[in-house]
């Protein structure tokens, strides 16, 4: 009989599909990638995704795919807890919910009750909505926030489609954030000034211990190098920085390794932030992961957010910034600040 890893179905062995999209071209294309999957028709994605009592950690061992239609709220205003990189008209689109990776600190496990991955197949409606926004002002749009689209590119092909859309809409800047090493899936695309590939990098101990199923730091760096050589605009995100007693030496080693492989002057910009999480998300995460040191850290709390405490957080940001300043000018380093601090800065 099966045991251990073989006990579980492979990812996407089961595909749930809303009845309304069974004939949608994107849905048909996605399903064609999984000829052996069991297809289960559903009325609405929430019938599966939002069931009560689901076990996020167990579902991560064998996530299902849920194909659905988004009916409204295609584009959201950027949340205050997210880095806007100095962009005034900051938005994000939720094209998919959840990620193929399994990072212990990820806010998605606090945000969603399920580890299954929902993919909205009606891309055309997102494009229409984005065009409406573009009639009013330029738009900076993050398309890979609540998921990792590049990691899913072989299955969805969404980065390719948004790249094509961006090519015809120069006032639109899109950011594709990823931890993947899957640049090869889009390596044939033409680099565009308004398409930013943003890689999240973590020190090796963090990647190995807490970012399950993700490519190693070296694999990500190698991928970034290839993308840079092709001429793509690259952003590096050192966010979230996770505290441990030796975080500084690990961080320093990561930065040194990164810029020994990648020419720093060709990086568009860098994002920096220490781990912080909303109270409601952490509450659910603690329940989901009773054995995770990151989740069980004794965080300090104020204004609805858990964090390392002002003293430690400030010290971590300052040290990280100093290390990065050895490679990049400070104006290219964007440090995440709390909404209140941002507000104060604006008033000043």
């Amino acid at each position: 009989m099966n045991s251990g890893k073989d006990l579980y179905n492979p990812a996407f062995s089961h595909i749930y599909i809303e009845k309304d999209v069974t004939d949608h071209p994107e849905a048909l294309m996605i399903m064609s990638r999984f000829p052996n999957a069991s297809i289960i028709e559903i009325d609405h994605y929430k019938d599966v995704f939002s069931r009560s009592g689901q076990n996020f950690v167990m579902q991560k061992k064998s996530p299902s795919l849920i194909l659905a239609k988004k009916h409204d709220s295609f584009i959201y205003r950027g949340a205050p807890v997210c880095q806007d990189f100095g962009n005034h008209h900051f938005y994000y689109a939720s094209l998919a919910m959840n990620c193929v990776y399994d990072c212990e600190y990820c806010y998605l496990q606090g945000m969603y009750s399920s580890a299954n991955i929902v993919v909205f197949v009606n891309l055309e409606d997102y494009f229409i909505q984005t065009e409406k926004l573009l009639q009013n002002h330029p738009v900076y749009l993050c398309i890979s926030y609540d998921t990792d689209l590049l990691a899913l590119e072989q299955i969805l092909g969404y980065v390719r489609k948004w790249h094509s859309f961006a090519e015809n809409h120069p006032d639109l800047v899109i950011e594709v954030r990823t931890k993947s090493a899957n640049f090869k899936a889009i390596s044939d695309l033409k680099p565009l000034p308004n398409v930013i590939l943003a890689w999240t990098l973590s020190p090796e101990p963090v990647q190995k211990n807490y970012e399950h199923k993700t490519p190693s730091l070296r694999q990500r760096i190698s991928c970034i190098k290839t993308a840079l050589d092709k001429g793509f605009r690259i952003r590096l995100c050192f966010d979230p920085i996770i505290y441990s007693r030796d975080w500084l030496s690990s961080f320093s080693e990561m930065v040194d390794l990164t810029f020994s492989e990648i020419p720093a002057d060709r990086i568009a910009d860098v994002g920096l932030g220490v781990f912080r999480i909303s109270r409601d998300y952490l509450k659910r995460m603690k329940k989901n992961r009773p054995d995770s040191a990151i989740v069980q850290y004794p965080y300090e709390y104020d204004n609805g957010v858990y964090h390392y405490g002002k003293t430690l957080s400030d010290s971590m940001v300052s040290s990280a910034c100093n290390i990065l300043s050895g490679y990049l000018s400070e104006e290219n380093i964007y440090i995440w600040k709390e909404a209140e601090e941002k507000k104060q800065e604006k008033t000043e």
Binding site: G53, Q54, P298
Partner: protein
């Protein structure tokens, strides 16, 4: 369906299941699909209440040796006379319990802990299935089902919950009392030590040393206790 739901509720109320337990519903079913031989077990990935049209979905995390399908739960035996009014693709079978069991079970189990295996007993023509025939159909699949279920049960049971040792619990109690911690601070202390144990391992020796050095006697006031607690926090984070 109602009886089945009441039965599950009664059983689980008397024997509260844990995260390592599983709920298995094995029973007979009808089907309009004559290509399915009698005695074929179907693992249900979708359960439809034929009266309301509502559906529910057990998680399908584990590999298995069965065919998968949808089960329609009806308050009366489904025959060509009752009419099904359900349009669906794939394997479809009908029973009289699954939907009720799922809903009652959901109060006690998570969706990955519930399994519904229906064994084809008739072709929905109204033919009678005797209890002897039903037992025989189930018995013919019992070994396969039991072997499969056992592996899953072993896997789920192996997942241990985090806990402090007796020595650690006693030391935490002593530290808490000596520092005059409030209930909220006691929670913070437990959280701190839980983190420490996950990150660095057992803490009994280190906490005993802290108590020995800093808490020889109970603190004189809550203010002093708070000061000691801050020191403890600095040492253990």
């Amino acid at each position: 369906m109602l009886n089945a739901a009441v039965g599950v509720t009664s059983l689980c109320s008397a024997h509260r299941p844990g995260s390592g337990d599983i709920l298995v519903n094995i029973g007979i079913c009808g089907t309009g699909n004559i290509s399915l031989q009698k005695g074929t077990p179907v693992l249900c990935s979708k359960i439809v209440d034929i009266s309301t049209g509502k559906s529910c979905y057990p998680d399908m995390l584990f590999r298995h040796p069965f065919i998968e399908g949808t089960v329609l739960t009806s308050p009366v035996p489904v025959t060509d006379k009752t009419g099904k009014q359900f349009e669906g693709k794939g394997i479809i079978v009908s029973d009289m319990e699954a939907y009720g069991i799922f809903h009652a079970g959901s109060v006690f189990y998570q969706p990955h802990q519930m399994f519904f295996i229906k064994i084809v007993s008739d072709y929905e023509t109204g033919e009678q299935v005797s209890s002897c025939q039903a037992s025989s159909l189930v018995a013919g699949n019992a070994a396969t089902i039991a072997e499969w279920i056992k592996t899953i049960h072993d896997e789920l049971s192996a997942k241990q919950q985090f806990f402090f040792s007796d020595e650690e619990t006693a030391l935490l109690k002593k530290a808490s009392e000596y520092m005059k911690l409030t209930v909220s601070m006691q929670y913070q202390l437990n959280q701190l030590m839980k983190f420490y144990k996950l990150q660095y391992g057992d803490f009994a020796g280190k906490l005993a040393k802290f108590i020995d050095e800093n808490l020889k006697n109970p603190c004189g006031s809550k203010t002093e206790g708070k000061k000691r607690f801050d020191e403890l926090r600095k040492r253990f984070v």
